[in-house]
């Protein structure tokens, strides 16, 4: 045993973080030991507070300390458009653009039988209820073009289309500032499929 027990435990905990290997975990643990007593206290408080207060918004399932969340209660936002995403991280990505001013709905995952994720494990029922009760006229699906993402979009479109709500999926294609020459065939053919008249 190279590390004394409390230190070893801290390293183990850090190592459970995504993308953190043994070496990074060790560095982080040593950093914690170097912290002043107040800073270490602030860290534990931040963890406890975040864990206690951040919950799913019961309307859109985004993460927030309040329910309904900041986005859902913002009356300046467009109430007629809802953007469906898989993960709270996607909401943050969209918010960063400052372009989109509508509502969100976080599915909290994608349909994936292998991971035990059926439609009932996602917030699909709640999305359908929103579509029924709110004045939503348009649904935008911002979901990754993976096997599971495509399956989820297909499933949702089967349910939403009959309701006569405008339904679209975000375009896929070349990243900005990239070079056509280096794009892979899959991306190129997708972007050809989604081409627009000018």
């Amino acid at each position: 045993m190279f590390f004394t027990r409390p230190l070893a435990r801290l390293i183990e905990e850090f190592q459970k973080f995504p993308g953190v290997g043994p070496k990074s975990a060790q560095r982080m643990a040593f950093h914690v030991l170097d912290l002043s007593a107040e800073d270490a206290q602030a860290l534990t408080e931040a963890i406890t507070e975040a864990k206690e207060k951040v919950k799913h918004c019961n309307t859109c399932f985004h993460l927030s300390a309040q329910d309904p969340c900041e986005i859902c209660v913002d009356s300046r936002r467009d109430q007629q458009v809802v953007c469906v995403v898989a993960d709270p991280k996607d909401v943050i990505a969209f918010e960063r653009t400052r372009e989109y001013r509508g509502q969100y709905h976080v599915l909290t995952g994608l349909i994936s039988p292998l991971d035990g994720k059926g439609p009932d494990k996602l917030s699909i029922r709640q999305l359908l209820a929103r579509l029924q009760n709110e004045t939503i006229k348009e649904v935008i699906m911002a979901i990754n073009p993976t096997v599971e993402g495509d399956a989820t979009v297909l499933y949702l479109s089967q349910l939403i289309k009959p309701a006569g709500i405008k339904l679209s999926r975000i375009a896929f294609g070349l990243p900005m500032g990239s070079d056509l020459e280096y794009a892979d065939d899959m991306t190129l053919s997708k972007s050809l499929e989604g081409r627009r008249e000018i």
Binding site: P113, P119, V147, A151, Y155
Partner: protein, 420 residues
């Protein structure tokens, strides 16, 4: 295209090895189980990310070690490039390193740049591998033929790898769902909606996989037919049928269908050319029909039974099944013709001369077929051959070849025969 050097560390039975290859013929001699095939496997692994011999990645790591490294240098039209693959057992605190299981970390680099997936190395080294196992292509299970045709497809078009992996993922997801529903006993409306989604996904990728196989066959078959007729010096017509569903040709399925609704789609018959020219929508209809027909069976067996993972290729000679009616010698000729066609197709499509890897296969061919294969190997094509002895080779053909002897994971001798 030439491979110039292969470096191995703890790969299979090699602790440490550096081999330099000649531009033309390379012959690796050794008794059985000395590591000849491992060298070809290493090249194939670097060129395709796959090995037809290994069941799991752990098999690559030398016994007594917990990591291995491969570095292949090659000459891509004048510029030296490299592909490296490193496998290392992950540290898991509660596990003894001597157990050959658990997670392996795989790092693939092309020219020193780390790749996010196997996809990054595909298509860089065009190669055709011909092993003694391939001689059983016609007799082996359908999986062997599916992997063969899909392997060609990926070498011709590396992005097809994504289609295949999406298809495999979809089948895995759908199988899990079938299992879930089968165990639950009955399906409600929402379950049916969910299965419908996976039916659609399956159909979409299935069409892409099937169409690609048909495209490969459409190019390969005429080339193979020409070589075959040359080999047999007779009027033998080589044909390949594409069977949607193992063990049944498309025509058999269709005939059944015809009996049930007479008159519809009269023009269709069993040749794969019809499937090849069939619009995607028609193919989707056929798959939908099969899915509907087999739904109950799928739930019973908890498995997806429709799609290219159940399809097969059926080789026919003069209209008769080659497995049932062709002699051993004829079957070998057919495989040889297919392999040589593969070589031609790859060089025509990529515009590069592929590398030919011959693993223990020459000894299995009679002198006439051997001569034909060897004569096809012209000087511009780099060839790496493994064999147990040189006696079968024409001394004239051996001129200018680099001959290396492998003994127990080491290259013990190397000689260059004088050029003609």
């Amino acid at each position: 295209m030439k491979v110039t050097q292969l470096k191995l560390e703890d790969f299979r039975n090699y602790k440490n090895l550096v081999v330099d290859f000649a531009d033309g013929k390379n012959i690796i001699i050794g008794d059985n189980a000395q590591g000849k095939s491992n060298l070809l496997e290493a090249i194939e692994l670097c060129a395709s990310g796959k090995s037809s011999r290994a069941e799991q990645d752990f098999d690559f790591i030398r016994w007594g070690s917990n990591a291995c490294k491969l570095l292949l240098s090659f000459d891509a039209s004048g510029a030296e490039e490299t592909i490296s693959i490193a496998l290392a057992q992950q540290n898991e605190p509660n596990k003894l390193l001597s157990t050959r299981s658990g997670r392996l970390q795989k790092v693939i680099k092309v020219n020193g740049v780390k790749q996010t997936s196997v996809r990054g190395l595909l298509g860089r080294i065009p190669f055709v591998s011909f092993t003694s196992n391939d001689l059983g292509l016609l007799r082996a299970g359908p999986k062997f033929r599916r992997e063969w045709i899909d392997g060609i497809a990926v070498r011709l078009k590396p992005s097809h790898h994504d289609v295949l992996s999406n298809y495999a993922k979809t089948v895995a997801q759908r199988n899990r769902l079938l299992k879930l529903f089968a165990e639950r006993g009955r399906m409600n409306v929402s379950d049916q909606d969910e299965l419908l989604v996976w039916d659609k996904q399956l159909t979409r990728f299935a069409i892409a996989v099937i169409k690609m196989r048909l495209k490969v066959l459409a190019e390969l078959l005429p080339l193979a037919q020409e070589i075959q007729s040359h080999l047999s010096r007779a009027d033998e017509l080589l044909c390949i049928d594409y069977a949607l569903r193992t063990g049944r040709t498309y025509s058999e399925d269709f005939r059944e269908q015809e009996e049930s609704d007479q008159g519809e789609e009269q023009a269709l018959n069993s040749s794969f050319a019809d499937l090849h020219s069939m619009p995607d929508l028609e193919l989707a209809k056929i798959l939908a029909r099969l899915l509907k027909q087999l739904r109950g069976e799928e739930l019973r067996r908890k498995q997806s039974l429709v799609g290219p993972h159940r399809d097969d290729l059926q080789v026919r000679l003069n209209g008769a099944s080659a497995i049932a009616f062709a002699s051993q010698g004829q079957q070998r000729s057919i495989v040889l013709a297919l392999k040589m066609a593969e070589l031609k197709q790859l060089s025509e499509t990529t515009g590069q001369t592929p590398i030919l890897l011959l693993d223990d296969v020459l000894a299995e061919l009679d002198p006439a077929r051997q001569a034909l294969l060897l004569s096809a190997i012209g000087q511009p094509m780099q060839t790496i051959i493994t064999t147990t002895h040189l006696s079968g080779f024409d001394p004239k053909w051996l001129e200018g070849a680099r001959i290396m002897t492998v003994n127990n994971g080491q290259i013990v001798s190397k000689e260059e025969t004088s050029a003609p």
